[in-house]
Symmetry: C4
Subunit: 327 residues, 4 copies
């Protein structure tokens, strides 16, 4: 029975624990990433009819292998997750894991294939659902998680933008419908039809399949474009400044941790490369970023040294000379 627990713990470490790093766990990660990417490639290639017909057997074989691997992965994760918190009931831990984002994505990646046994859906649509396996990649990429976190944090701003954009699309479509309806009764036959023009224009895609042709329509179109063109580009701006903030905050966090360690242990930390490396990996910065931070810290420290007193929150010296105060 002790073997059972040892195996479960070993499975848990390899599949669940991000901080556990062995040769095997790295291999498993790379194998799963490769399999996911290959699955997406297969879905794309299967859509090319001649290719699919010729190699139908291999495509199906690959899909069956993939489904088996992903199902096995899900079951092993489900079984081993209890090692996470042994103080609670096994099924409580499992149920909590099943409801987590990662587990739902894992389930979505295999469910459509099994659904096929019960309900017979269009094969083509079913194949597309396999693309959901792409989402499994989120687990392996920190930068992707960061982007999602920014999207979540700035969702207030996004909400406002989507709202404003919707208003602008409705207003623009209604205006152009009134003006162009008589000249182009086909393309602008109703507001919903005019909305296609509004979306294509306000996002600056501008296919040119529908354009205003009356002078009045062109004037209104120009006005709408000038006023609205910024709104569609807003989310990118918000995301960009959000990402920049996120990265800045991470750097500041590292600085703070560095400073705390420096004050507790003195300057020796600069010689203790292993400690630095551990800290770097814990915080998740690149070697280059760590280097920048240390260079900056050392310069400021040096600078503060011949000033006397150091301010702990910015690492800079304060010019109130010690002797001034003690007299």
């Amino acid at each position: 029975m002790s073997v059972f627990f040892t195996v479960r713990r070993w499975v848990y470490l390899n599949l669940h624990d991000d901080n556990y790093r062995s040769f095997l766990s790295t291999c498993i990660n790379y194998f799963l990433i490769t399999l996911i990417v290959a699955n997406v490639g297969a879905v794309i290639l299967e859509s090319v009819q001649p290719l699919y017909k010729e190699h139908q057997f291999w495509f199906n074989l690959f899909e069956n292998i993939s489904i088996t691997v992903f199902t096995l992965e899900y079951l092993l994760r489900f079984w081993s997750v209890v090692e996470k918190d042994r103080s609670r009931s096994e099924w409580a831990v499992r149920w909590q894991w099943v409801r987590s984002g990662g587990a739902i994505i894992d389930l979505l990646a295999i469910l459509p294939a099994f659904l096929n046994f019960f309900v017979h859906v269009d094969l083509r649509v079913l194949r597309i659902f396999r693309l959901l396996r792409l989402l499994k990649l989120t687990r392996y990429f920190v930068s992707l998680q960061m982007l999602l976190r920014v999207i979540q944090r700035e969702r207030g701003a996004f909400q406002a933008v989507v709202f404003i954009l919707s208003i602008m699309i409705v207003m623009a479509a209604s205006g152009i419908y009134i003006v162009e309806n008589k000249a182009q009764p086909e393309a602008f036959s109703s507001i919903p039809k005019a909305m296609w023009w509004a979306v294509v224009t306000l996002t600056t895609v501008g296919y040119g399949d529908v354009t205003p042709i009356t002078p009045m329509g062109k004037f209104l179109g120009a006005l709408i474009t000038i006023l609205g063109v910024g709104i569609a580009a807003l989310p990118a701006g918000i995301l960009a400044s959000g990402l920049a903030n996120e990265l800045n905050q991470r750097n500041q966090r590292l600085e703070l941790e560095f400073l705390e360690m420096l004050q507790q242990q003195g300057l020796d930390i600069f010689n203790d490369q292993d400690e630095l490396e551990k800290l770097r990996q814990r915080v998740g910065l690149t070697k280059e970023q760590m280097h920048d931070v240390i260079i900056q810290l050392m310069r400021e420290r040096q600078y503060a040294d011949h000033q006397g007193i150091t301010c702990p929150h910015c690492g800079k010296g304060i010019s109130i000379q010690k002797d001034d105060r003690d007299e």
Copy 2:
């Protein structure tokens, strides 16, 4: 007569007071939001001729109900607003409310329908005016108000951009008119006609219905595009950084209020979840944001504790040791 005042106060609380939250006021808000959205949907669907002809009766009924509800809402608001400031004359308070932005939007939402009794305007145009009811939604969305505030605050920058954009459009249109006039006498017959090309190009919409065809025209077009392409995207950038600033300032404001409360009441606030919740709602942050702020504060506080003295404006310890000074 006391009943009269009680009813008026009750109407006031439900319709005007944002801080008053009862089950009824929430219901009223959701009902009005739904009605506004449904009105916009009706306007869009009515423009589809076959659909409108078939269900004309129901569309008209819905419009009449809407108009009644919005008129009632306006009158009740007008009547009850006097409760806002009972020290001033009733009509002075009402007149002030009538001139406020929210009241003007409310009036614009119902006026076109009543206008129809006196002046007989084109039904289609009249229907479009109903879209103004969309603006009533501003009252219910904080993020939308924030966006409008940013637009208002950065209007200096927008003014400059619109100005520069106008200059660029005029210059681009004139240049391309000179160069392309002979090759395409129809599309570039005059500067106003060439402006359509200029707007479509500088905003990067690029329908492709009018493009330069002479080598000289293509060279000038390429030059204009490269130089001007940034200007049209400027408003988005300004808005994005403005929004980011606005959100940052809100967070800082919360932090300051938290710090003040912490200093007045000690650390107990961390156990007083109700106080925190009240504060959170007052400032209007999400639970997640509040969580981030508290985590950050606690870490800094902990850090300052073994330093001795805390700087109240950044919550960080100052390394001037107490004993240093007392000696």
Copy 3:
């Protein structure tokens, strides 16, 4: 002779001195702004052939009046500018003014019209040169000057972007020329011709008059678009963050001046609305912005008051209690 100097001074104040504000100087400014805008409108309308032929007389009359006014303005400015610095030689001051940006723009606005007497250029091209009068508006709009200053300050970044964009256009054009040359020998007959496609694509204008049609060309085109799409939008981002910075710095400057005045004069400044108004106009902020700053200052001040000591550079209290130190 004293009358001569008085008149010259009076002309100087009205035309040159931005801080001098009389009813007349305001009228002159608005008259000149209107005239400039009307001139641009005339140039645009003249390009519409039927309109020009019908009203030729009035167009020419308006042009002659405009030229007279602008020439008079230039001469009066030239004559009166000596009042700016009476310690130096009159002609030295004038020569300095003639070489200034504003004077060159003023000259460019009238020169083409006079050039016509000597050299007979194409009337249509000559008319376009009148658009240079638009630049005279820069004098009257602060926000426009700000934008130009940002462009000048960030010119290092712009230089890098234009450079990168040029490289990308050359590379993209060469690549697509190699790949698409055989399939579309007309549209991609040489690299210069392929550059039209490259510019239209990398700026995301995308007219669609020239597109890759071979699978290889589409793949290369997609790759180029994804990699290059950001570069063209860079200038807008740089400008936007530059403008945001510029506006922030202005606000900080006002805060600093406010703080200095507060420390020299005490809190009475809050009651001295005239002083505030003067300061506001001197710094060039809007009333709303000033309001924000004062509100913020007062809150911080109030907060610092029950803390004891105030830090002059951020207006916040420092928690080192006085009694702590005096013991």
Copy 4:
């Protein structure tokens, strides 16, 4: 033999040392920049068939001269680089240089031409490789290096964006393929073909050669466009804020160096224009930027003077009066 070392040192200074500035080294730099630009011009012009056939001799001559010059440059750099560090073995220094970025670019600029002797590749493709000489320009432009550094530093963010963009392109292409496949079996015959539409739409290029035509396809297309339009513009935003940061950091570094020099040497530095000029060139700021920094420093310094104590890291006075503490 001493002459040999003197010559080698002289070659080293002119070709390698950026801080060495003589008339000759400036001439060499400008000559090489001109030659690189002329080479690119030649490649572009050679692609115009009639032009190339007429002047074939001159084009070939120019290419041969260029190849000679660039080869000579490479050999001289290779030979003289040992002067950089005379404490190490000559070949170790040379090998280190050969592996550096600049040397690899230099090699890429000449290698394709020599390759032609051994392998006979298509002349047209070979010519395009000459465009790699453009990269040699990086050595001469600081702003370009800065942009590359920003791209490298923010590569985490770029990675996330490319990843998200790939996911969106695959998802969008699959969706539109399902919906439009029947209506347009040619343009949307498979997912890879639909990806052309997805790229063109998500980057907002929008040629219009392929557009959805079914109502369902238009609805899906509109949804994809609205959601995805921001992602393609993200890299620009990240680059822009990265560049702004980079420029800010450079300014702050200058300020810090200025402050250190001021504290070591007193205020005399303001009179010592030569020192300032040297510092300015060392840091690489424009004269205008230096001016701004000094103005700001002087104002803050003046302000601090009547406050008593100065904080060295922000140059502002601290209001804790000296007498308060000494009592």
